[in-house]
């Protein structure tokens, strides 16, 4: 479904702030796979997600989504294939518009936006049914503006908006990181529910090693712009968090990682 071929990206090339964010990435994600990505800050995990979303154009290599070369397509053009949930719950919704209007807009993904009045009563009834799935009692508040909702509710709406049209790829960018634990677990549950129900090809960046292991059927570990581990479902089932840390220990030998780096890693994930 998603394929990277020799993909590289350097930010601020030839300056003092030069960052090699992605180095010669080759990666294939198959249809229906739910991939979790872990890595330290600056490892390139979010950059990889953005490379799929199309926020920037790569320096070398190609990206394909659903067998289409999207290397040079802009973000909004790729939006026909994929949907995103951001870390910031304020990013995914229009705060001054109603829940119904937001959901309606998300349903226009990949369609023409004509000056036609389509958000009628019947449409709202349909939306009400869909919102019920969130089990947040929002179905009666469809005309309330998003700005009046809590962060968790907003993120739930964003999630609903991203899956409402069954996208080919769902991108989740640490989408529970900014929420309180209760809302976070609610959102994770909803995420699993929607992905399973529609068998969505999904890529999720996470800070939680536990989440990375328990969710999805494949885990990718990134470091300094490289994919350093690619763990399959079978392997994941056997692995514990400690095993993962051991892998880092091995890496340390292989790649001469400093103790500091491991400390970083531990600090980040535990």
């Amino acid at each position: 479904m998603i394929e990277f071929k020799n993909f590289s990206k350097t930010f601020n090339p030839n300056t003092i702030n030069e960052v090699k964010a992605l180095i010669n990435i080759n990666l294939t994600i198959n249809e229906g796979e739910f991939v979790t990505i872990i890595g330290t800050n600056g490892s390139g995990k979010s950059t990889l997600l953005n490379a799929i979303a199309g926020t920037f154009v790569g320096d070398t290599g190609n990206v394909e989504i659903d067998k289409n070369d999207v290397t040079f397509l802009k973000e909004f053009q790729r939006a026909d294939y994929l949907a995103r949930v951001f870390q910031n719950p304020y990013s995914g919704t229009a705060p001054n518009m109603s829940i119904a209007e937001n959901l309606h807009l998300s349903m226009l993904r990949g369609k023409k936006r004509l000056p036609l009045y389509n958000l009628r009563k019947s449409k709202k009834n349909k939306l009400s049914e869909i919102v019920k799935e969130l089990e947040m009692q929002l179905e009666d508040r469809l005309d309330n503006i998003i700005g009046s909702l809590s962060g968790g509710q907003r993120q739930a709406i964003t999630l609903l908006m991203s899956v409402i049209n069954k996208p080919k790829v769902l991108l989740l960018d640490e989408h529970t990181a900014a929420l309180d634990p209760k809302s976070a677990s609610q959102i994770i549950k909803l995420t699993e529910k929607f992905i399973e129900r529609d068998n969505l090809t999904s890529v999720m960046v996470t800070h939680s090693m536990q989440q990375a292991l328990t969710l999805g059927n494949r885990t990718i570990m990134m470091y300094k712009g490289n994919i350093i581990e690619d763990i399959s479902l079978n392997e994941k089932k056997r692995l514990t968090v400690d095993d993962l840390l051991d892998r880092f220990a091995e890496l340390r030998k292989k790649e001469k990682l400093t103790d500091d780096m491991i400390k970083d890693f531990k600090n980040e994930y535990f």
């Binding site: 979303a53 229009a94 705060p95 001054n96 936006r113 004509l114 000056p115």
Partner: protein, 957 residues
């Protein structure tokens, strides 16, 4: 009432623009300054299309499209070139200034007699007052428009637009092409602004390059007011709030005008009004925040009450200040009211207003019988409309509009009130009429454009006719454009003068424009009137002074700032004439029957300090032309000058005026560096000697005797004195009375200017007018020295002209009648008054005999022109005086009178009388009319250049 209805209609039309501003500012979250340009663009497109015959509604469609195109451009620059939104807007706005000028072809397009969208609605008027019916129609139209716009924002595209403004990250993630949507939104916003611009142009009756200035600020103010008062989430409420804000904003301005507020404070009031609304909505909002989604009637009511209370307080304060000044004990019925409006404050307009007010007072108006309401729009064209509406409401008897924009506003808004305009360059461009007599029935006034022909005559007289001139002008000023056009036309007469021009659009450009012209090697600046330029003239003067380049203006008031010369209208005469027209209208005359008055009185000024600094030597003829001087010479001690006249008579006053101007032209002014003592003998001969002795006792340095008896006395009293010089003038013949033997052989302390009547020229004139008549009859007093020398002079040449002089002498006035009849019996074919004093006393008898016998009467004395005299030809007494003044200055400079030869004035003045010619069935030759200084038409003296075509046809061959 008209004021409020007018404000409502204006507010409704402007609400289209406000909704446009709301779209960019609130919905798209994009501070778009394009508005100032696209508003004018819409107006320009609509106005030009209408003048080309396009239907007004169709023109509005094009105005909308044009506005949209401008917005699209801003959007493209912002999104595709990644230029900051504010900057993108500014860029397009600035560019539009030029484009709008190109579209209009000039800075102002009048639409006065053109079809407009209002007439469509007025066609269905069920007999309501026009403005009221229009306001009802507009209320429906704008409501429908607001509903449609709101509905649009509920469609898929509209929702996308709102979402993009609300959260562009989300929009992009949902697959929205954010750039395209932004471009579309800005285009939509400006399309509405363009539509509003077109509609306003049609409503106010003209499009003007400056009408968009400040629109974005007005729009934002309206949006903020509306938003503060109406806080409902529904898009209908939001769009309506913008429209309501617009109406409230206009009401606020109307109210300020109604309260008689100083327009200077209008902008301050705007800011306060916006702040108050925001404050009220905040403080009221805190308590009821929970009910956010319910219509907060309370808050609206509190807001409105507070605003009203504030406004009432404002009026109260204003009234307090006004107390006593405008109150009149006379009941309103017998008291007339006039409203005076000017577009802004500047020298020319203020002079006009002051002269008008003074003249009204002179005519006999005072606060008891006339209430004068004075308004100033402070350069805000929209305010002009409200001011006129205010006059309509308060039912003034006459509206006086000073300046062109004020007149334009009045023409389109005050159809039933007499309008008297003053100091506008050209009433025909703004369709006030087609000629001085054919004009709108309720309109008349005074006008005149800057005399570029006279200006160039003046400039070339100083600088020769081969040089380079630089002009600076604001392409956005209608008058400037017109003046520059006239200048260019005039320059066609001067093939060796090269013109360099620099255009400006604001005062900040002036300095650079001046420097760039100087670097092109110009020799002089000629600066036709231009409001922008003249408001920051110092920038040019500074640069020109550094480069030592002379500057010429058309506003004498500005001469002191350092320009060399000025040739302009005397705007006092414009104001005075307007006052007389106002008087006629107030007394019941219909403006339709009062012709436009084109003022022609010129004020020509010279700055002697500038001339000295620039090293330019001013020719005497140049100085002669001027009647206003800046700068005087430095002297060690003020010298005393005694000016003595025999009696009060018009010609001697003219002579004195010339004398003082001659003095001033060479740097001497009374009270400044000389002291002048004026004396008048009041036709009492013994008095003359007493005056002379008094002056000698006062140690007067120079005595100026005017007229023969006074000169005679001075010869006796001060002839040959060492420390008193005499400069005589206003005398026929100084050689008879012992002052001189010839022009160079004269008393050592005497010199002066003689004005012997131009008798050879007189006989040439007679010959030219009546070639077949040979016998010229004169009556004269043989004991009058002056007459004797004149008659002797005539006898000397008359035969050589193939003519014959028939004389009849008298000793006192009672003999004139018989003497005149005697001339008839001797076969005189022409009567001539050669300037005899006795004859002058009984001139009526002389003229009557001439008239009874159908004999043309000529005279050497201009004052007799009204009295059955077909033509007078006499010395130009102003010139005589001027030359005397120049002699005076030379003596003040230290020259000795003995070395200065006596001068004879050669310049003559010819007056003709049409009334007499008509009686005699005589028609003047065109060349003669052109030579005449004045012509009597229906007992009134008129300059020949001001004669109407009909009269010219009637009186000429």
């Amino acid at each position: 009432m008209e004021l409020w209805i007018g404000a409502l209609v204006l507010g409704l039309i402007y609400s289209i623009m406000t909704i446009g501003v709301y779209i960019s500012y609130k919905i798209l979250d994009f501070a778009d300054i394009t508005v100032d340009g696209s508003f004018t663009l819409g107006a320009a497109v609509s106005a030009v299309l209408i003048t080309l015959g396009v239907d007004p509604f169709t023109s509005l469609i094009f105005a909308t499209l044009a506005g949209g195109l401008a917005g699209m451009l801003t959007g493209l620059i912002h999104t595709k070139m990644k230029v900051n939104g504010l900057l993108a807007g500014i860029l397009v706005m600035i560019a539009l200034y030029s484009i709008n000028l190109h579209i209009m072809g000039r800075s102002n397009v009048p639409l006065l007699q053109q079809p407009n969208f209002m007439s469509f609605f007025l066609a269905f008027n069920p007999n309501l007052p026009e403005e009221i019916w229009l306001s009802i129609c507009m209320l429906f139209v704008i409501s429908a428009f607001a509903c449609l716009t709101s509905l649009f924002f509920k469609t898929d595209l509209g929702l996308t637009l709102r979402a993009t403004g609300d959260n562009s990250i989300m929009s992009s993630a949902l697959g929205v092409n954010v750039d395209s949507i932004k471009i579309f939104g800005i285009a939509l916003s400006n399309a509405l602004v363009g539509l509003a611009g077109g509609a306003i142009a049609q409503y106010q009756g003209f499009a003007d390059i400056g009408m968009g200035i400040g629109m974005v600020v007005n729009g934002l103010a309206a949006v903020i007011i509306g938003e503060a008062l109406i806080k409902m989430p529904s898009i209908y409420a939001k769009i309506s709030s913008a429209a309501i804000g617009s109406i409230l904003f206009r009401f606020m301005i109307a109210f300020a005008l109604f309260a008689g507020m100083n327009p200077i404070d209008l902008k301050l009031l705007t800011a306060l009004f916006v702040l108050i609304t925001i404050f009220i909505s905040l403080s009221a909002g805190n308590k009821v925040r929970r009910k956010k989604f319910v219509l907060q009637k309370k808050r609206v009511i509190i807001g409105l009450v507070a605003v009203t209370a504030g406004a009432v307080a404002f009026v109260a304060v204003n009234q307090l200040f006004d107390m006593g000044s405008n109150k009149s004990p006379i009941p309103d019925g017998s008291r007339k009211r006039i409203g005076i409006v000017q577009v802004t404050s500047n020298g020319v307009l203020d002079i006009t207003r002051e002269a008008l007010l003074k003249e009204l007072e002179k005519i006999g108006y005072n606060t008891g019988n006339l209430e004068i309401i004075q308004k100033n729009a402070n350069n805000d064209l929209a305010n002009l409309n409200s001011i006129i509406d205010d006059f309509n409401t308060s039912k003034v008897d006459v509206i006086v509009t000073i300046s062109t924009p004020a007149t334009q506003a009045a023409l389109s808004r005050a159809k039933n009130i007499p309008i008297v305009f003053a100091t506008i360059a050209n009433p025909f461009i703004i369709k006030a009429g087609t000629s001085d007599t054919e004009h709108l029935p309720n309109v008349t006034g005074t006008y005149g454009w800057a005399p570029m022909d006279k200006t160039m005559e003046f400039v070339t007289q100083i600088l020769g006719d081969k040089f380079k001139i630089g002009i600076i002008w604001d392409v956005g000023q209608a008058n400037a454009e017109f003046n520059v056009h006239n200048l260019k036309e005039e320059l066609k007469k001067y093939p060796n003068i090269e013109l360099f021009e620099a255009n400006i659009s604001s005062t900040t450009d002036i300095q650079q424009a001046a420097v760039s012209l100087i670097s092109k090697g110009i020799n002089a600046f000629v600066l036709p009137p231009d409001n922008t330029l003249y408001s920051a003239l110092d920038a040019v003067l500074k640069a020109s002074n550094n480069a030592k380049i002379p500057v010429f203006l058309n506003d004498v008031e500005r001469l002191e700032d350092g320009a060399l010369g000025s040739m302009g209208h005397d705007y006092t005469s414009s104001g005075q004439e307007a006052a007389h027209i106002v008087d006629r209208v107030l007394k019941g005359e219909k403006p339709a029957n009062i012709p436009f008055f084109k003022y022609s009185k010129l004020t020509c000024g010279l700055n002697l300090n500038a001339a000295k600094y620039l090293g330019i030597k001013l020719d005497k003829e140049v100085v002669y032309k001027a009647n206003y001087f800046v700068g005087t010479k430095k002297v060690q001690a003020k010298k005393k000058i005694g000016i003595v006249q025999f009696a009060m008579e018009p010609n001697v006053e003219i002579c004195k005026e010339g004398l003082l101007n001659g003095l001033a032209g060479y740097g001497y002014k009374d009270g400044d560096n000389i002291e002048i003592i004026y004396k008048n003998a009041n036709a009492d001969f013994p008095m003359i000697n007493a005056i002379m002795q008094d002056l000698i006792a006062r140690d007067v340095d120079i005595i100026v005797p005017l007229s023969t008896p006074v000169v005679q006395s001075s010869v006796q009293q001060v002839g040959g004195r060492d420390n008193t010089s005499v400069v005589f003038t206003y005398i026929y013949d100084p050689y008879k009375i012992g002052a001189a033997k010839s022009s160079t052989d004269h008393l050592p302390n005497f010199t002066g200017v003689a004005c012997f009547p131009p008798m050879k020229e007189m006989f040439d004139l007679i010959k030219e007018m009546y070639p077949e008549k040979k016998k010229v009859g004169v009556v004269w007093n043989s004991s009058e020295a002056n007459s004797e020398s004149v008659i002797k002079f005539i006898r000397g040449f008359v035969a050589s002209k193939g003519m014959e002089l028939i004389e009849s002498t008298v000793t006192n006035p009672s003999e004139v009648l018989d003497a005149s009849n005697a001339l008839i019996s001797k076969g005189a074919e022409i009567f001539l008054n050669a300037g005899d004093n006795t004859l002058n006393v009984a001139y009526d008898s002389f003229a009557k005999v001439a008239a009874d016998n159908n004999i043309p009467l000529f005279s050497a004395d201009a004052e007799t022109i009204y009295n059955n005299t077909i033509a007078t030809l006499g010395p130009d007494y102003y010139r005589t005086g001027f030359d005397g003044g120049v002699y005076l200055a030379r003596i003040l400079d230290g020259e000795k009178a003995a070395k200065i030869p006596i001068m004879q004035t050669k310049e003559t003045l010819l007056y003709l009388n049409r009334d007499v010619a008509k009686r005699l069935n005589y028609k003047f030759a065109n060349t003669l009319i052109k030579r005449a200084s004045k012509i009597v038409i229906d007992s009134t003296l008129i300059s020949p250049e001001k004669l109407s075509v009909n009269i010219l046809k009637e009186i000429s061959k």
